[in-house]
Symmetry: C2
C-alpha cells in the first residue's frame, strides 16, 4: 500500500491512498482522515485502506501532483535518526577532524531530531545564513506503530508500518561547536523533508530484507547525478538493530519516524548522498575542499527506483531560497 | 487558568479546567477535547476555557483526584530540555569527570528529548536495571504555542502558553558511554513525568518575570525534604534565552515543551533537585559517593508552593517499581 498526505490548510493534512504507479490518488476520508489517525488505529483501518488501494490501482481516483503533498506525517511525535553507514561516519568525522567513536561497529549511533515542524517533498529550503554550511542527506526512514520498551531486534519487523525517504537537512558549520557542548545536535539540524509517499514493507518485495532496503539511493544535485549509492549491503546496523537499540530504555508511540543515516558506499564511483562526504574526498585527494555548501538557487532531488526504474516513494525535489 | 488532562483510555486523554485551589475540575468537552486541540486553536478556545475557569473557581465541577491525571500532554510533538542552572552543570560534570563546556555562561545547553511517550504525575517509574543509575531531576517547563524560526528572546513571552513541572528521569550510568559517541542523550533519558496541572503565566503573578519563575522547587525523596531550591535567581539562562536559542534555525509547533534543566543553587543548605548533585557533594566532602541511585520502593515528590503555601502545579508523586 502507498499512502501520502495532501496539504489542505490543516496541521495534519488529508490522508490519501496512492496507486502503485504513483499516478492516481483516492482520499481516505471516513476511514482515516489523517496519517496519524491511521497509525493510531492501524489494525482497524488497514483493511479499508487496502480496499481503497485496490480501487486506485484499478484506475479510480484523481491525478497525483506531488507539489500538493505534505510530508506523510506533517508533524510527528518523534524523529530519531541513526547513522548506520560506517563509511559516512568515518568520512564526515574526518571532515571535521573528529575521531569515530570507539564503539563504531558495535553500538548504533542515533540522535533525537526535531519532529514538530517537518517539510513536504517539494517545500523550499530557506537559507538564512550561507555561513551555516547547508547540506542535504539522502536517507531511508521507517515509521513505527506502537513499539514497547525492550523490543528486541528480532521483533522489530512487526512494528514497522511504513517505509519512506527523507532529506535530513544539516547545517554543517554549526555542528562542531554544538557537539563540543556534548548534548548532541540541535541548531545544526533544521526541519527534515520527507518523500511524498510512504509504503508498507510488503510493497518492497524481496528488496526489503533483514531490516535493509536493497535498492540504490539516487541523489541529483543541480540537475546532475550526485550519488547512485547502494542502500543495502553497507548498512552496518539494520533498522532491526537501530530500533532494538532505542527500545532499550524507552517505548515509542505510533508514528515515530526512525532514519537510517546518510546512505554511503566505500566505492567512491557510486558518488555520495551529502555534500560533506564529497568535500572530504576532495580534501583527501587534493588537500582542499572544493565543492561549496548549498546556496540560493541550488536544487536537490532524492528518489529510489525499483528494478524496473519506477520511483517507489516519489521524489523529494527541493530548491534553496532566500528568506 | 489551570488545565490538566484526565486519563480516559484514549491516547490524548480529556482536557479539564482545574480550580485555582486544585480542588475541582470541569471537563472542557465541546470547547477543546484535548490539550493539543486547545494549543492548536488557542486564541479561538481561550475565552470559553476561561469562562469554564470562572465557573470551577465559583464551586462548580467534580473533585480532583490526581491519580486520574495524565501528563498535561500525554504525547507531545517536541520535548526540548535546557540546562540553565550553572551550578548543576558544574556539579554533574564533576561527578562524571567531565569538563563544563567552554561556552558555559554564553551559549545555552539544550538537548532534544523523547516526547511520544510521557508519564503522568503519579505513574510508576519502572526500574529495568538498577545498574543504569536511576535519578530524578526536578524542573520547570513551558509549553509553547506556534513559535516562528528566528523568534528573539524579547518576543518569546508571547509564545509561552503554559508553565508546568517535570521529573526528567535520567539513567546516570548510561550517560558517559552515550555522550562519548557525541550524538547526545538517548537511552539515558527514558520517559519524563509531568505535573498534573499546567497553568497560564498570568496565574503566577509577579513570581513569573523575565522568563524565570521565582518560587522554590520542593523535592521530597522517600518522605524527607531533599531540596527546597530557589528556582529564580540562579537560572542563568531564562526561558527567553533558551527559546530564543532553539529558534535560531528552527520553528516550533504548538505544544512544544521546553524545560529549564535541574533547579540548582550554589548554597548547599538548600539541598538538591537530583541525586547526582548530592552524590557529587558527598564525593567532594568525603571522597566517596554515599547516596545510592533509586531502587524499587523509593518515592519521589516534586512540587512548587506559592507564597501562601499552596501547590501551584499539583504534585508529581511517583514510586519506583520492578518491571
Amino acid at each position: 500500500m502507498k499512502l501520502g498526505t495532501l496539504k489542505n490548510n490543516t496541521r495534519d493534512g488529508q490522508l490519501v491512498v496512492v496507486s502503485r504507479d504513483n499516478q492516481r490518488l483516492l482520499p481516505a476520508t471516513g476511514i482515516a482522515d489523517t496519517m496519524q489517525y491511521a497509525l493510531d488505529n492501524w489494525d482497524a483501518v488497514y483493511p479499508a485502506l487496502n480496499e481503497l488501494y485496490s480501487k486506485v490501482n484499478q484506475g479510480e481516483g484523481d491525478a497525483v501532483d506531488i507539489t500538493a503533498f505534505h510530508a506523510p506525517l506533517p508533524r510527528a511525535y518523534e524523529w530519531i535518526d541513526g547513522s548506520a553507514y560506517i563509511n559516512h561516519i568515518v568520512l564526515v568525522r574526518k571532515a571535521r577532524n573528529a575521531e569515530p567513536p570507539a564503539t563504531l561497529t558495535t553500538d548504533p549511533l542515533v540522535y533525537q531530531g526535531g519532529s514538530g515542524v517537518l517539510l513536504g517533498p517539494t517545500d523550499d529550503i530557506v537559507l538564512h545564513n550561507y555561513d551555516w554550511g547547508l547540506d542535504f542527506e539522502s536517507e531511508i526512514c521507517v515509521v513505527l506503530g506502537d513499539t514497547p520498551l525492550g523490543t528486541s531486534g528480532a521483533d522489530v519487523d512487526k512494528h514497522i508500518r511504513l517505509v519512506m525517504l527523507c532529506n535530513d537537512v544539516t547545517l554543517r558549520n554549526l555542528i562542531p561547536a554544538e557537539l563540543a557542548k556534548s548534548f548532541g545536535f540541535f541548531n545544526s539540524k533544521p526541519a527534515t523533508a520527507y518523500s511524498p509517499f510512504a509504503v508498507t514493507p510488503d510493497e518492497l518485495g524481496s528488496a526489503w530484507k533483514e531490516g535493509r532496503l536493497h535498492h540504490n539511493m539516487l541523489t541529483t544535485y543541480n540537475g546532475n547525478v550526485f550519488g547512485d549509492v547502494e542502500a543495502g549491503p553497507e548498512m552496518h546496523f539494520s533498522f532491526q538493530d537501530i530500533v532494538g537499540h532505542v527500545c532499550k530504555t524507552r517505548a515509542f508511540t505510533a508514528g515515530t519516524i526512525v532514519g537510517s543515516g546518510t546512505i554511503s558506499n566505500e566505492d567512491t564511483s557510486k558518488g555520495s548522498s551529502c555534500l560533506s562526504e564529497k568535500r572530504m574526498l576532495e580534501k583527501i585527494d587534493s588537500g582542499a575542499f572544493v565543492t561549496p555548501y548549498m546556496n540560493v538557487g541550488d536544487t536537490i532531488r532524492i528518489e529510489m527506483l525499483d528494478e524496473d526504474g519506477h520511483s517507489i516513494f516519489g521524489t523529494i525535489s527541493q530548491k534553496v531560497v532566500a528568506p
